[in-house]
């Protein structure tokens, strides 16, 4: 198994069999002060965020903006179309009445919020990203089924090829392997 940090090295990949080992390990990596590293799990592990020290995302705020846009857009559209651009006399009702416009307004608010959520989430995750060095690792193919991984990138300021590999092995990983870029 090649252990020498080469030029095309992406980083090291440590495999764990059990979730709890990963959590412990993640906390240690965090304390060691690594910044460009990540955990890979087949399902969201509770507590792993804390262990990795990930702070809250700004996603909700984006959604709020999306929602408000939908709300105002809906209200303006309905007023403009039915009461301003071409005012219709319908059933002797007022040209613009709040009760009548509530449903559409609500729906558009929800729609834009949902769309924002969806696209913002993938955007912030920089996904889709069909090509990734980690996919070069055969071992990594189990990351979406039943194995748990920690990857530390070579770009991390604290990264020192061999030392980092030993550090990972020391965390009780079942296996540690370099990933070529």
């Amino acid at each position: 198994m090649a252990t020498r940090a080469t030029h095309g090295l992406y980083g090291y990949l440590a495999e764990f069999r059990e979730p709890w080992d990963l959590i412990d390990a993640a906390a240690k990596v965090r304390d060691a002060g690594y910044t460009r590293w990540d955990c890979h799990t087949p399902f969201p592990l509770h507590g792993l965020d804390h262990a990795m020290g990930i702070r809250g995302t700004r996603l909700p705020w984006l959604v709020l903006c999306g929602g408000l846009t939908g709300l105002t857009a809906a209200l303006l559209m309905q007023w403009w179309m039915n009461a301003h651009d071409y005012p219709y006399l319908i059933s002797g009702k007022p040209l613009f009445g709040l009760p009548a416009v509530v449903p559409v307004t609500f729906e558009l608010t929800v729609l834009l919020s949902a769309l924002t959520t969806f696209f913002a989430m993938w955007g912030l995750n920089l996904l889709p990203q069909h090509h990734h060095p980690l996919f070069n690792s055969e071992r990594f193919r189990r990351a979406t089924s039943d194995r748990f991984f920690i990857s530390i990138e070579a770009r991390d300021p604290l990264f020192q090829g061999e030392r980092t590999r030993e550090f990972l092995a020391g965390l009780g990983a079942d296996a540690v392997e370099p990933v070529e870029d």
Partner: protein, 1013 residues
């Protein structure tokens, strides 16, 4: 026209237009260049464009006198300077049906008549118009009309050119003239035409050997015979219900089946408006449920054959019971009356009726219908005489003296034909093979006539048995003249050149007499010049009729004749109709008359005013009779009369007389055309020359089969739950009360339905500008259907056919709701015309997702067909269910000539769009534009909707609700006004005026004013 023929242009009016339509550019705009192709409807709408261009070209041509008839036509009213294509013009003319006259005003658009209305200046119509004249339009453009001369050799028809036909006829006629008419018989329809009479006179003089017969399957001969007995000469009985305060009708349908029905209706209605003074009272004794019967304050249903006894009973009650004195010389009728009185006790209603008649001497009227035998009519004449009505409510005018009655005439002709004494038979119109009495086997006899000519609009049953068939000119295509029931002279002018160069009967006669076919125009013109009081020809055409009435010699009652007839009738053994001896009554079909209109789709799909049947007739049974005989609605039964048999469907009609079965004549045609063939059941098959009106001894045998009757109301056999509810609800929908109630609480109508105060959730917009509204007076609406046809013609409403109606998909914008209330055997009848009521808070509008229906500034609920997507939500949400949906494209596959009937001012609706009454918005817009162009306000009554225009009783009033002085405002704010389903707070613009009944206080009254006798 000749110039065109020389230029090799097809002389068929329509096809010459077709040529133009073949221009590629023309096709382009048929396809349409509108931004949204999806928008441009299927061929349906482009048809209107087609016609406009066609019309325009014709108009242009007409300026240089191309296909326009050579004779000048003078516009009736306000003729525009020059002729502006694309604008409608109106011409006065008349239509004659079996001798009865409808004075008309026909709207012509670019050379094609598109609407028939009554002539407002003529006393007989006063603007109103009957069904047949209005629907005549569709007959004119009927693609099934015959276009060629047909010669039959060995039964196989060969097409001949008009020229050849004329030549052949001319030759044969020359021979006949040589024989002084020996072996010639002429069979004609009834006609009041002086021109025709003159020709007939000439025939009598010039061809003395020839015989003339006149036959109408439905006629008023009994009345005519009676006048012969009573006055020594045939007289026309003229009634004036307007002058009568008490009307007693014995099997007489004065409001519909009468030569002056329109005037009768108008007069009757004027006597029903309680707010304008006293109210008349109408008693009806009849077997079937007639239109007049529906309006009765007291109606007695009894078998037709027993009605004579009823009138004799009344006479006895009056003379013996109430001491009405007979003039000297008439005492000898007393034994007859005593005989009758001895026979049976007078029922309550009879006493009440007698009392009423006595109380209103000189302003009452006893009328007897055409189905009653002559002596009954004589008795009526006598009663009117002794009641002092003669000269007031009834007069007797001269009638042209012809010999045989129609029944006798056809029978005699049959006999002569049977003897082989007729070598040449000229049939001027009519369809005897279909409608002659069954026992004569006219068809068989006709086959044995060597030379037979049949002049008719269609190649019908009779044409199929004649050697020669000659195409006849439609009344809208021909010059004609008539003498109406009052003796007034009138001229009919053609609205369009004969589409197929057909001839008029007069023209054929002139060919027969003179050897050359003289144009009808010349014939009529000649008569008119002779006619005293006809006045200036142009003025005559302009006006449509001669102002002056001819002087008549008064009628003198011939006592002996009267006495003889009354004694004969009174002593005769009265018919005993009952379970063991049912009667069958042959009634004239309200839509098809005697069957001649069978191929008219408008009339076929016109709901019968009582049964609401379309595309069918049925054997009508009373409710209890049906129960007793164990037959149900839709069953097929075999009617057996002597050795004759006919299978017909059963319709159980509330209010129909017990032990009596009514079957309308005219259905069951076999050669009517694509529309009329095979609808209904051929009543003529049971009609013998011995009993043309009513026959006893009917047997009803159940076949176990059933027939699908299509009705526009009660689309399905209704269950008990629904029945109860309908009965309950109808009383709040059709608000009716008695005169007494009205006098006590004039505004009773408004308080019939109780509902919480009506408040809107929002501030309602004020009415500005126009606020069109309508009132419909249920007191005067007789339910005659004239408005329905008018609406159909005005608004290009398609017919959908029997199957679609049976599914509940009829398209009539205006429907006449009919409710029966109370005892099923003697119900009160209520008619209610319902079209879009143009709610101010219209429920249909708010649910339309695309704004295809909305309010315009005049407060109309308008419908933009070209915006409609067809969700049908508006219809679902309409409480009145007056919206109509185009389930298919009902305007496709229409033959070209049939398209000429379309009103270019109204869009043809394509498939998948909703439509409904527009208050005739096209008429409103036209009036508004004209008014604005002339810089004046719109006058009250200037906008007239099609239904309002044609209403015989003026039950419909239309106008501006923002104008406090307008009639409609006064009526809407008046006593009897109420709004249908007011509790929904949709604020309809159409208001109804509560129906008032004027029952005789002597007779016990049930809630809805129908007699409990």
């Amino acid at each position: 026209m000749s110039s065109m023929n020389q230029n090799g242009l097809d002389h068929n009016y329509w096809r010459s237009l077709q040529e133009l339509s073949d221009e590629p550019e023309f096709r382009r705009f048929l396809e349409g260049e509108f931004p949204e192709p999806a928008e441009v409807p299927t061929d349906a709408m482009s048809r209107r464009r087609f016609l406009q261009v066609m019309g325009a070209s014709v108009a242009m041509a007409s300026l240089v006198g191309c296909r326009w008839p050579q004779e000048t036509i003078v516009p009736f009213a306000s003729r525009p300077e020059g002729v502006t294509p694309g604008t409608a013009r109106r011409y006065a003319t008349v239509m004659e049906l079996a001798g009865a006259v409808s004075p008309l005003l026909v709207t012509s658009f670019d050379g094609r008549p598109i609407k028939v209305e009554g002539n407002p200046d003529h006393p007989l119509s006063q603007g109103a118009c009957d069904l047949f004249a209005q629907a005549g339009l569709l007959e004119l453009y009927d693609p099934d009309r015959s276009r060629h001369v047909l010669e039959r050799e060995g039964g196989r028809p060969r097409r001949r050119s008009l020229g050849d036909g004329e030549a052949a006829a001319a030759a044969a006629f020359t021979a006949l003239r040589a024989r002084r008419g020996a072996g010639l018989a002429v069979l004609s329809e009834a006609s009041s035409s002086p021109t025709f009479a003159a020709l007939r006179g000439r025939l009598r003089d010039e061809l003395p050997e020839a015989a003339w017969y006149e036959y109408e399957p439905v006629s008023r001969d009994n009345e005519r015979l009676a006048t012969g007995l009573a006055f020594g000469e045939a007289r026309r009985v003229r009634v004036d219900p307007g002058a009568a305060r008490v009307l007693a009708c014995f099997d007489a349908d004065l409001l519909l089946d009468h030569p002056t029905a329109l005037r009768n209706a108008r007069g009757f209605a004027n006597g029903r408006r309680a707010e304008d003074g006293e109210m008349n009272r109408l008693y009806v004794v009849e077997s079937d449920l007639s239109l007049t019967g529906g309006m009765a304050d007291h109606r007695v249903a009894m078998p037709s054959l027993e009605i004579p006894r009823a009138l004799y009973g009344l006479a006895a009650e009056l003379v013996l019971g109430r001491g009405l004195s007979l003039p000297p010389g008439y005492e000898s009728v007393l034994p007859a009356l005593e005989h009758v009185r001895a026979a049976g006790h007078a029922p309550a209603w009879m006493g009440a009726m007698a009392g009423d008649l006595l109380a209103h001497r000189g302003e009452s009227l006893v009328a007897v219908g055409p189905r009653q035998p002559d002596h009954v009519h004589v008795l009526a004449i006598l009663l009117n005489e002794v009641l002092g009505n003669t000269g007031r409510t009834v007069t007797y005018g001269p009638d042209d003296q012809r010999g045989l009655s129609h029944g006798a005439a056809i029978a005699t002709l049959a006999v002569t034909m049977g003897k082989g004494q007729v070598q040449s038979l000229v049939i001027l119109g009519g369809n005897p093979v279909h409608d002659a009495p069954a026992d004569l086997d006219f068809g068989g006899l006709l086959d044995r006539v060597a030379e037979s000519w049949h002049l008719s609009l269609f190649v019908d049953e009779t044409s199929q048995h004649c050697r020669w068939h000659l195409p006849r000119a439609h009344w809208l295509e021909s010059w004609h003249d008539v003498r109406d029931h009052d003796g007034r002279y009138a001229v009919a002018q053609p609205l369009i050149a004969p589409l197929y160069d057909g001839w008029t009967p007069a023209e054929l006669l002139s060919l027969l007499l003179d050897g050359v076919r003289r144009p009808a125009h010349d014939l009529v013109r000649a008569t008119a010049d002779r006619e005293p009081g006809a006045g200036d020809w142009e003025a005559l055409l302009h006006r449509g009729f001669a102002a002056a009435l001819p002087v008549e010699k008064a009628a003198a009652l011939d006592g002996r004749g009267v006495v003889a007839a009354v004694r004969r009738g009174g002593m005769a053994k009265p018919a005993e109709v009952g379970r063991e001896n049912l009667e069958l009554v042959f009634v004239r079909d309200p839509s098809l008359h005697d069957g001649r209109f069978a191929n008219n789709a408008w009339l076929q799909e016109l709901p019968d005013f009582m049964t609401k049947l379309v595309w069918d007739n049925a054997a009508l049974f009373g409710v209890s009779t049906a129960a007793a005989l164990d037959v149900a609605h839709g069953d097929v039964v075999e009617l057996q009369l002597g050795e004759r048999r006919l299978e017909a469907a059963v319709y159980v009609l509330p209010g129909h007389a017990p032990w009596s079965v009514s079957l309308s004549l005219g259905h069951g045609r076999t050669a009517a055309g694509g529309v009329g063939n095979g609808t209904g059941f051929r009543a003529y098959a049971l009609r013998n020359s011995s009993a043309l009106d009513a026959a006893a001894g009917l047997k009803v045998v159940r076949t176990g089969r059933s027939h699908r009757l299509a009705t526009t109301q009660d689309h399905h056999a209704i269950d008990a739950v629904g029945m109860r509810e309908r009965e309950k609800r109808s009383r709040s929908l059709v608000v009716s009360g008695t005169l007494a109630e009205y006098r006590e609480h004039p505004d009773f109508a408004a308080h019939r339905t109780h509902h919480p105060p009506l408040v809107s959730l929002w501030k309602e917009r004020p009415r500005e500008g126009f606020a069109w509204g309508m009132t419909i007076d249920l007191s005067t609406c007789i339910g005659c259907n004239a408005c329905v046809v008018a609406c159909q013609a005005e608004n290009n409403i398609p017919v959908v056919g029997k199957d679609q109606v049976a599914k509940g998909r009829e398209l009539h914008w205006l429907r006449l709701d009919r409710y029966f209330q109370g005892d099923p055997d003697a119900p009160a009848v209520a008619h209610q015309p319902v079209a879009c009521v143009h709610c101010e808070l219209a429920p249909c509008e708010q649910v339309c997702p695309v704004n295809a229906t909305m309010h315009n500034e005049d407060g109309l609920n308008v419908m933009a067909y070209n915006r409609c997507v067809g969700t049908r939500y508006c219809s679902n949400n309409c409480p009145y269910k007056v919206r109509r949906f185009n389930w298919f494209n009902f305007n496709s596959d229409i033959p070209d000539v049939r398209k000429l009937v379309y009103n270019p001012e109204v869009t043809l609706r394509s498939r998948g769009v909703m439509e409904k009454c527009t208050y005739c918005v096209q008429r409103i817009e036209t009036v508004k534009i004209d008014a604005k162009n002339e810089g004046r306000p719109v006058r009250d009554g200037e906008v007239v909707t099609a239904c309002q225009q044609t209403c015989p009783t003026q039950a419909i009033v239309f106008g501006d609700l923002n104008d406090p002085q307008s009639r409609v405002t006064k009526l809407t704010t008046g006593d009897r006004a109420y709004h249908l389903l007011a509790e929904l707070n949709v604020k309809p613009r159409t208001a109804f005026l509560a129906r008032l009944r004027n029952p005789n206080p002597e007779l016990a009254e049930s809630a809805d004013g129908h007699p409990a006798h």
